[in-house]
């Protein structure tokens, strides 16, 4: 995949909102130690390469800046493989209902 994106390409940017150590006082230790980061998508306002500082126009028409991280960012969430602990439940409960209807 090319690292170069043309002006107008649909991309994802990344930026640091609050550095570690400048987090809200109420956050727990583990969260204090990491920065608050943002990811947003939009149309690239100038041709650029992954890793460049860029500006995008979002779907709401706002201009946001950050580091170009992904060109045409995919949706990767899925189901994954079936889970053994769930896969037999249907047969188990159908058997209970069958037994109940036979004994009635």
């Amino acid at each position: 995949m090319s690292n170069f994106a043309a002006k107008g390409a649909w991309v994802e940017i990344h930026s640091k909102v609050l550095p570690a150590g400048e987090r809200a006082p109420q956050v727990p230790q583990d969260t204090q130690r990491v920065p608050l980061v943002m990811r947003a998508k939009g149309f690239l306002l100038q041709a650029a390469q992954v890793g460049d500082d860029v500006e995008i126009e979002t779907c709401a028409g706002r201009h946001l800046s950050g580091t170009l991280v992904i060109i045409n960012p995919p949706y990767t969430h899925t189901f994954g493989p079936p889970i053994d602990e769930l896969i037999t439940i249907g047969n188990e409960v159908r058997a209970i209902l069958r037994e109940r209807s036979q004994s009635q």
């Binding site: 969260t31 979002t58 769930l86 109940r100």
Partner: protein, 471 residues
């Protein structure tokens, strides 16, 4: 002053401009405010809300009797027990959950007042609802989500919400873990001047009233009477509040309102480490405990979702029980539905077992399901993070460590939350918010009785007790 503090200091003016409500106007005491007037002054009620919702095909969702699940309950119940279970199929709303009801009046109001766009801070179904309604109304939309941890692992259900919001043409700001989401949200509101379609305004709550109202009417029509109990998946409290208000407005004043949450005790809501170990994104105690014991922690000065005013009973179920019942719903009733509504279904399964055969229990919502927003996605992520998955006794379920899927339906049970304890915790928070060197007057004491759904005696005794233990 840090960047964070600088924006947070402007919170009041930003919020005021973005919701167009003068909350100060409703203050009646040191803590007290006129809750009913705040809602009434919107000019909307359950009837006008339903009219507005009809224009975008929101509401009028089917009520489905779960006959096979009821049979399964009866197979595990004492003879003569096992109430009829119905479910309100809120997944039939345009964006797939009851949250369309919640978004509808905000978008209507934003449009009416000439805002050019709407924004909402939400990682859940509500974002999709706001985006869907905004798309139809021709308004721009920005959704701010807490979406991934410091390893850049996205919570799969929230990833699906990102996709849904983007499908409706919204800008989605995805953030790593932390309550500073509110800081980013305030910056968005300040930048854009958009309407804050908060989950917690009076518009949101009145929009949900139609759910309780419809449900009561549907049960009455089908069964000749109102339901004995309605079970509601409970997080920030809007679902309980709006549904209960709607039930009352339909005349179902004796129907028991039961709130149900997934028990996530032991996990910290603002922890980067725990974020992806919850396996649930809503309807859990990480929201319902803090919001029940102090609702005014929202993105508006006075939260219109005040669940403690409406709950008759508050129960928890385990993660494993909800995954189990989700599978049962699909395989016995032919309904593949998302996780949140199934929290109250798991509770209904246990509660129906305690009730008489001719009693009626309603699970008041379903939500859509799909990639990411599904037990398989959650359990596969849990496994990857080292959480143990097994069949066994739900009592051994330990959030973040072990998810135990029940061996048999007879093991599904609810744990009652100590409601008087929750009420005392609310009162403790109230005292913490009392300006120093002030004392509570009659208006405030009555307000606290209303808030906790108790009486002056309970409030005064609890406050005395709190002073004694503090002093």
């Amino acid at each position: 002053m840090s960047r964070y503090q600088h924006i947070m200091a402007q919170k009041e003016e930003i919020v005021k401009a973005s919701v167009g409500l003068d909350y100060a106007h409703y203050t009646t005491g040191l803590l007290a405010f006129d809750y009913e007037k705040l809602l009434a002054d919107t000019g909307y009620d359950v009837t006008t809300a339903a009219d507005i919702q009809r224009q975008t095909a929101v509401g009028n969702t089917p009520l489905v009797e779960l006959k096979n699940i009821t049979e399964l309950v009866r197979a595990t119940a004492a003879p003569g027990n096992g109430a009829r279970i119905f479910i309100k199929d809120e997944a039939a709303n345009p964006s797939g959950s009851f949250k369309d009801r919640r978004a509808s009046l905000s978008i209507h109001e934003a449009k009416k007042r000439g805002y050019s766009g709407v924004a909402a801070a939400t990682s859940g179904n509500y974002g999709a609802a706001v985006a869907s309604q905004a798309a139809k109304a021709g308004l721009r939309c920005i959704i701010v989500q807490e979406a991934f941890d410091s390893q850049n692992i996205a919570q799969p259900e929230i990833a699906e919400k990102t996709r849904a919001c983007e499908a409706y043409g919204a800008e989605v700001i995805r953030l790593s873990v932390g309550p500073e989401l509110f800081y980013v949200f305030l910056k968005v509101l300040k930048d854009t001047g958009y309407f804050n379609a908060s989950l917690y305004t009076p518009y949101s709550i009145i929009g949900i009233e139609t759910l309780g109202f419809e449900l009561a009417q549907q049960v009455k029509e089908l069964c000749g009477r109102f339901p004995d109990a309605v079970i509601t998946t409970h997080a920030g409290g809007g679902n309980v509040t709006g549904t209960a208000r709607g039930l009352r407005k339909a005349g179902a004043v004796d129907t028991q309102m039961i709130a149900a949450s997934v028990d996530l005790s032991g996990l910290h809501m603002a922890s980067d480490h725990d974020f992806n170990r919850k396996s649930f994104t809503t309807g859990h105690t990480g929201f319902s405990m803090p919001f029940s014991t102090w609702p005014d922690r929202a993105d508006v000065p006075r939260n219109a979702a005040r669940a403690l005013r409406y709950m008759d009973r508050f129960v928890t179920v385990t993660q494993g029980e909800v995954f189990y019942i989700t599978q049962v719903l699909a395989e016995l009733e032919g309904l593949q539905r998302g996780p949140a509504g199934n929290t109250s279904l798991a509770a209904a399964f246990a509660i129906a077992r305690e009730m008489n055969e001719d009693h009626i229990v309603v699970v008041q919502e379903t939500e859509y399901t799909g990639a990411g927003k599904h037990p398989l996605a959650q359990l596969n992520l849990a496994k990857k993070l080292g959480i143990e998955i097994s069949r066994g006794d739900p009592k051994d379920n330990k959030p973040g460590v072990r998810i135990v899927i029940p061996r048999a339906p007879s093991q599904i049970a609810v744990t009652d939350v100590d409601l008087p304890g929750v009420r005392r915790s609310y009162l403790r928070h109230a005292l913490e918010h009392l300006p120093s060197d002030t004392t509570l007057g009659a208006i405030d004491l009555q307000f606290l009785a209303d808030e906790t759904r108790t009486d002056l005696k309970f409030v005064e005794e609890s406050i005395d007790e709190l002073h004694r233990t503090a002093g």
